[in-house]
Amino acid sequence: MKSPMKLIAFILVFVMAACLFAGCAKDDASSDSAYVQDKGTLVIGITDFAPMDYREDGKWVGFDAEMAEAFAASLGLKAEFVEIEWETKAMELNDKNIDCVWNGMTLTDDVKNAMETSNPYFNNAQVVVVKSDAAAQYQNADSIRDLAFVVEAGSAGAEELDALAIPYKEAATQADALMEVAAGTSEACVIDLLMAYAMIGEGTSYPDLTYTVKLNSEVYGVGFRKGSDLAAKLNEFFAASYEDGTMIAIAEKYGVLDSMIAQ
């Protein structure tokens, strides 16, 4: 390339071509179970989110991870875990980079519109996390208004703060938001109650943090491509697994049985 203008023109053409190609790649998902049977793997989109999906000795474990393995096995498939950017989960699904999002996903209206979702299996809440020594002042919804908040961008917690018209900064993950509060660069964050169980308080990564106000209550579900028949198959699997006690045993193992919803 002799001149920078030529180079720029070349790259623009390339980018436009890539856009066109991406636009063409959509097709219908009516035969989604046939599609995964065909390739023999179930690709599960997750983030590092204890106690649902997290790494131990190089292997993905957690309540969701074990259930996902079992579900894939019941279909005769190999489970494959892929870490995704939480913000782009719907896109990853549509582009068929993953086959489902199984990661303690709150069933918000946005999620239900963008995906085919399973029956809810956990009760969760969005909770406000502050430093333990300041917790006494922030026990009700009015007291938290003036805190400097940080939340994961696009999370259920962000939606709750939007609804309350409380301003906040956005972080890339819930773990980043927790680190902001621990470092004192933000005063409070909003995370999932189930995550709070695992990550904050005595004996955890952040012993000096605690949660105070519950902003809502909500439920977790698993997301598939819009129109996929795999959602119904999972509901059957949940019911059977709950019936024979496997699901309860796994929930007990990870200390989350209290939050589980009967199937």
């Binding site: 203008m5 720029i8 913000e87 940080v150 890339a172 470092a183």
Partner: protein
């Protein structure tokens, strides 16, 4: 929608531009100071400076951003930056200026050491003072020598500004990415790409002009 995206990207672009401009403003002169330190005849000072440069150049800028911004709060419970946008910007600038000054210092050092000793000696035997030799003889030759590597670093800096988002400085890249979210629209990212391309394209042209203006002599 397009209007919203452009507006958001413009906001992000201004933050990136601020980060870019102020980093250069701080790092270009600081780099010269550091290069003098690393060439110092006082050996402990030279070793200390070179050790510092090694650490800064040898570790990722993202790590430095995280350590500088979160380190004091997490390690000592003493958050020095505050959580405001300006506090975050100052922390980001601190990391960027230190990081780039170290890169520039090595470029300066190579440039200064590459100028033949004879150029300085010729000035000396003609009775010129040290400042006269530096400003009238060495400097322009130095500029000509370091312009290509400096322009590389400057263009890398344009793209590196996107790292500031790890401490929640909402620069261009963050603004482009936020539109993806659950709705799954990706085209704002391509707009972001165009912003970067135009910016680096202009810088490329600018540096090529500067290099051309110094084409009249060889070093």
């Amino acid at each position: 929608m397009v209007e919203n995206v452009i507006k958001a990207l413009q906001g992000g672009f201004l933050v990136s531009l601020e980060l870019f401009g102020l980093t250069l403003l701080g790092a270009l002169p600081l780099g010269l100071v550091i290069s003098f330190g690393s060439m110092s005849r006082i050996k402990p000072l030279a070793w200390l400076t070179r050790g510092f440069v090694w650490i800064v150049r040898g570790s990722p800028l993202m790590l430095q951003l995280l350590v500088i911004f979160y380190g004091p709060g997490l390690l000592f419970g003493w958050n020095v930056w505050g959580g405001s946008d300006s506090g975050r910007m100052i922390a980001a600038l601190t990391a960027f200026i230190l990081n780039y000054a170290c890169y520039f210092s090595e470029i300066y050092r190579g440039g200064i050491e590459g100028i033949p000793q004879g150029q300085r000696e010729a000035g000396q035997v003609l009775g010129m003072t040290r400042p006269q030799i530096f400003f009238r003889v060495t400097l322009l030759q130095l500029v000509k020598r370091i312009l290509p590597p400096i322009s590389n670093e400057v263009i890398t800096l344009v793209k590196d500004t996107s790292l500031a988002r790890v401490i929640l400085v909402y620069e261009l890249m963050w603004e482009g990415q936020r539109f993806i979210k659950s709705a799954g629209i990706i085209w704002p990212l391509f707009f972001t790409g165009v912003f970067y391309l135009v910016f680096t394209g202009l810088l490329t042209i600018l540096f090529r002009r500067l290099e051309k203006r110094l084409d009249y002599f060889t070093v």
